[in-house]
């Protein structure tokens, strides 16, 4: 990663400095108050970007977490009489805790249920505040919340209020960069756009959520708490869906996932209803129209436009970090699976030894892909056991199997389009390991192009490299030669040969017999879910059952 700022970031900083200069010269009390409000929305929206933009979850409780922060500090200072800074700290803690509680159960759900569950949570918080009696002040809310003070200065208005708010923005930017920078970007993009691939690479989505949710909640609550101290009052209005809508609009208009874009969009969007106060309905309707327009015409938002004008400098090639593969044997015993009443695979036993290539063949529908899915854990097995070395993998999630040394390539691979080749290949590894994997498949020269600009054959090789970069013991490949040109196939054979010599145990499902028979040490042939033959390529080729299955199929087609 580069240590220097990207050109776009420099542009954002210059823009903000200009705005700050303008405020110092022309700003009146009202303008400073709006500037403070802009900062609060920017901070809450930066938090929202982590979940919505990075993890791709439509979490609709960010507005409620904002309001929760406001209420928390109001209650801590008003009821307990503690110092306002304690209130802010308490609010941050509460916001983080509530978001953490959401992260586990809610974030596992599908996106339409994430939206509903978080919406229901927000409604519950609103109901609690409205009917909380003296404790929350009911529908009137709480008054007389003491302002923050720092070094004897009471922060109630003007530049001081805006400064505190924008310190919150600065903090949000730093925290967001810390949790999403470097290799985290590729990990989050893979979790978001290709969850199965992420799991197969050993990228722990649950862990990513347990980090990003509390950070997002803490930032929302911080913003809400600062608002409560700035206004001196808090009422159920802070919990209305309008706050959430504004945050969502800022995130989309700013550019999904971009913290700086959120800051820019907050500067554009938040002052609108304040400036056109008497036209409140028009301005909210107008934000709806802008939101729709951005979705349709400019999905990258403000940040997308700025980065198109000022492209990021791509990573320089990191030094190679040599790949060290595990040398453990995968043992599958009596794996079986039925779908409905349909037996897809029966009693498959395999032994994949270090430094060997096993080919898995069979006519269409004979259970080859089911076998790969059972081994990698995408589909749970009905019967049988699986172990790598002396570790039992039966019943483990795909991500745990990957972490135990099992890697998998995909027939229809997905790469997050925002990544460069080097970032994409390093999703489950370090950049140095990714570089080594690129060297291996011969794509190093293409390291800084967007992953979408690779050809079909190169994309297949990149998929292989991405799996290899995780330094597995066992590698499963699903039709790696499909769609490759003759020269790419030759390159693939060379790569597989290198990996075998490096000690990997490799299982390949493949239709191209010439290719597979030439590189395999052993071949297993499935027919209708049963193991019809297994042995050296020559033995399997000569097996009458295999010949019947294939000739029968060819005669039929």
């Amino acid at each position: 990663m580069t240590k220097h700022l990207q050109p776009a970031s420099v542009a954002y900083i210059l823009g903000l400095l200009c705005a700050a200069g303008g405020m110092l010269v022309f700003g009146d009390g009202y303008a400073w108050r709006i500037a403070a409000l802009v900062g609060l929305y920017a901070a809450a929206s930066i938090g929202f970007q982590l979940i919505f933009g990075r993890l791709g979850l439509l979490m609709l409780a960010q507005g409620a977490l904002f309001g929760l922060g406001a209420y928390a500090t109001a209650m801590i200072t008003a009821h307990l009489g503690l110092d306002p800074w304690f209130g802010v700290a308490g609010a941050i803690g509460l916001g983080a805790m509530v978001a953490l509680a959401i992260a586990g159960p809610v974030a596992r759900l599908e996106s339409h249920y994430v939206a509903l569950a978080t919406l229901a949570l927000a409604q519950l918080v609103l109901l609690t505040a409205t009917h909380g009696g003296e404790w929350t002040g009911g529908s009137n809310g709480l008054y007389g919340i003491p302002p923050l003070s720092f070094a004897g200065i009471v922060i109630v208005e003007g530049p001081a209020l805006a400064l505190v708010s924008w310190c919150g923005v600065l903090l949000s930017l730093v925290v967001a960069a810390a949790v999403t920078g470097g290799s985290a970007r590729a990990r989050h993009a893979t979790i978001r756009e290709a969850p199965l691939v992420a799991a197969a690479l050993g990228i722990d989505a649950a862990r990513a959520r347990l980090i990003l949710f509390p950070v997002a909640g803490a930032l929302a609550a911080l913003a809400g708490a600062l608002q409560a101290h700035g206004l001196g009052v808090v009422s159920p209005a802070v919990l209305r869906f309008d706050v959430m809508i504004t945050v969502l609009a800022i995130a989309v208009i700013g550019g999904r996932g971009s913290p700086w874009g959120a800051v820019a969009a907050a500067c554009l969007l938040v002052p609108l209803p304040e400036v056109f106060r008497e036209l409140e309905s028009y301005s909210l309707g107008a934000s709806g129209a802008v939101l729709l327009g951005v979705l349709v015409a400019c999905p990258g938002g403000v940040d997308g436009l700025i980065r198109r004008a000022l492209p990021d400098r791509t990573d320089t090639l990191p030094p190679v970090q040599p790949l060290r593969f595990g040398t453990e044997t995968l043992l599958a015993e009596h794996l079986g699976k039925s779908f409905g009443g349909n037996r897809a695979l029966a009693d498959l036993s395999l032994c994949l030894e270090p430094g060997s290539i096993t080919g898995l063949i069979g006519p269409n529908g004979s259970g080859k892909t089911t076998a790969l899915n059972l081994i990698s854990g995408i589909v749970g097995a009905d019967t049988g056991h699986l172990r790598i070395g002396d570790r039992d993998l039966s019943g483990l999630l795909p991500v745990r199997r990957a972490q135990a040394g099992l890697a998998r390539g995909f027939q229809h691979s997905v790469f997050p389009s925002e990544l460069t080749v080097l970032q994409a290949v390093s999703a489950g590894a370090t950049l140095g390991q990714g570089r080594a994997a690129l060297d291996l498949v011969g794509l190093t020269a293409r390291h800084d192009v967007p992953v979408g600009s690779l050809g079909a054959g190169e994309t297949r090789l990149l998929d292989l490299a991405r799996a290899v970069a995780t330094q597995p013991s066992v590698l499963l490949l699903d039709e790696p030669a499909a769609g490759l040109t003759a020269s790419e196939r030759a390159r693939l054979s060379g790569v597989l040969e290198t990996l075998r010599r490096a000690g990997l145990a490799i299982l390949i499902v493949e239709h191209r017999m010439d290719f597979l028979m030439a590189i395999s040490d052993r071949v297993v042939c499935l027919v209708a879910g049963e193991t019809a033959a297994s042995g050296t390529p020559d033995q399997v080729r000569a097996d009458p059952r295999v010949r019947a299955a294939y000739l029968g199929r060819e005669a039929a087609t």
């Binding site: 759900l109 229901a120 409604q123 869906f241 809508i245 989309v252 309905s281 995909f410 691979s413």
Partner: protein, 286 residues
């Protein structure tokens, strides 16, 4: 207690029947495009506003003002449904569903604040269906006819079969010659018409307020969760259940408790019926 419940039965069933129409339209769009229509509540509200508008130009003393405005409401709300499809779905049909979630939120904002700016934020009373007859009974009857019509349309007509085929597997449906674009447009129009009818039915007993939409949408959303994602009649049944639940708890305790209990029930369903939550296509392909 039982006496109270019996006394409340007609109005509870009327509310349930109206909710069922809302939920039906909501789930039709989910099935057609695989996305949640956050503007669905605004379509309901819009139907109520249109009903109030048409009724205001009718002469006084009509026997059935609500029934007279119904055709106009149906047409106008079907057009609103089509307009929603044109704005929020059509330009984004190749984008991930979450973009359509957001675009419908955006169109909902435009409708809500457009109506507020146009006619003002205050609640309005809609026309009674037929002033001489019991409103709850009339609501149940009109909703019943609408539900029966939808049932016939979906189960008996060629169009209904195409709609269901397109919802189950759009690619396959397209391959066998179903005009998927047309069925999607029809789903939006039907959803709009059902929502508008519900708006008219609710407008006399519960007023019409431009900010009603979000709450109605949430009820429909919950009804779909109760009924099972994408199950048309499950959603309708879920909606009736919500109305009964709400009314009973509200009578026993308070409306706030009823609402809170409903949201807690959502968590319980999502937590304890996870097997029903993963039947979708999203995130499946690697």
């Amino acid at each position: 207690m039982i006496e109270t419940a019996l006394h409340l039965l007609p109005s509870t069933l009327a509310l349930g029947a109206s909710y069922a129409l809302v939920a039906l339209g909501f789930v039709l769009v989910i099935n057609a495009v695989g996305a949640v229509n956050f503007a669905h509540g605004e379509l309901v509200m819009l139907g109520g506003v249109i009903a109030v508008g048409i009724a205001s130009v009718l002469p006084d003393g009509l026997a059935a003002p609500g029934l007279i405005v119904l055709p106009g409401v149906l047409l106008a709300s079907a057009a609103a449904g089509l307009g929603l499809a044109a704005l929020a779905y059509l330009p984004l049909r190749r984008a991930p569903p979450v973009n359509i979630f957001i675009s419908t939120i955006a169109v909902g904002l435009i409708i809500q604040h457009g109506v507020t700016a146009g006619v003002g934020p205050e609640p309005r009373l809609g026309p009674p269906l037929a002033p001489g007859l019991d409103q709850s009974t009339m609501v149940i009857m009109v909703a019943g006819v609408a539900i029966a019509a939808v049932h016939l349309l979906l189960s008996r007509s060629q169009f209904g079969r195409m709609l269901r085929a397109a919802a189950q597997d759009p690619d396959m449906a397209r391959a066998i010659g179903v005009p998927v674009g047309l069925t999607i447009a029809a789903s939006f129009a039907l959803a709009g018409a059902l929502a508008g009818t519900a708006g008219l039915l609710l407008s006399n007993q519960y007023f019409v307020t431009p900010s009603d939409g979000a709450n109605l949408m949430l009820k429909a959303y919950i009804a779909v969760v109760i009924g099972g994602w994408g199950r048309i009649w499950g959603a309708a049944a879920g909606a009736v259940l919500i109305a009964v639940f709400e009314t009973l708890i509200a009578v026993w305790l308070s409306y706030a408790v009823a609402e809170a209990a409903l949201y807690l029930a959502v968590f319980a369903i999502l937590a304890f019926r996870p097997q029903g939550l993963f039947g979708d296509t999203e995130g499946r392909r690697a």
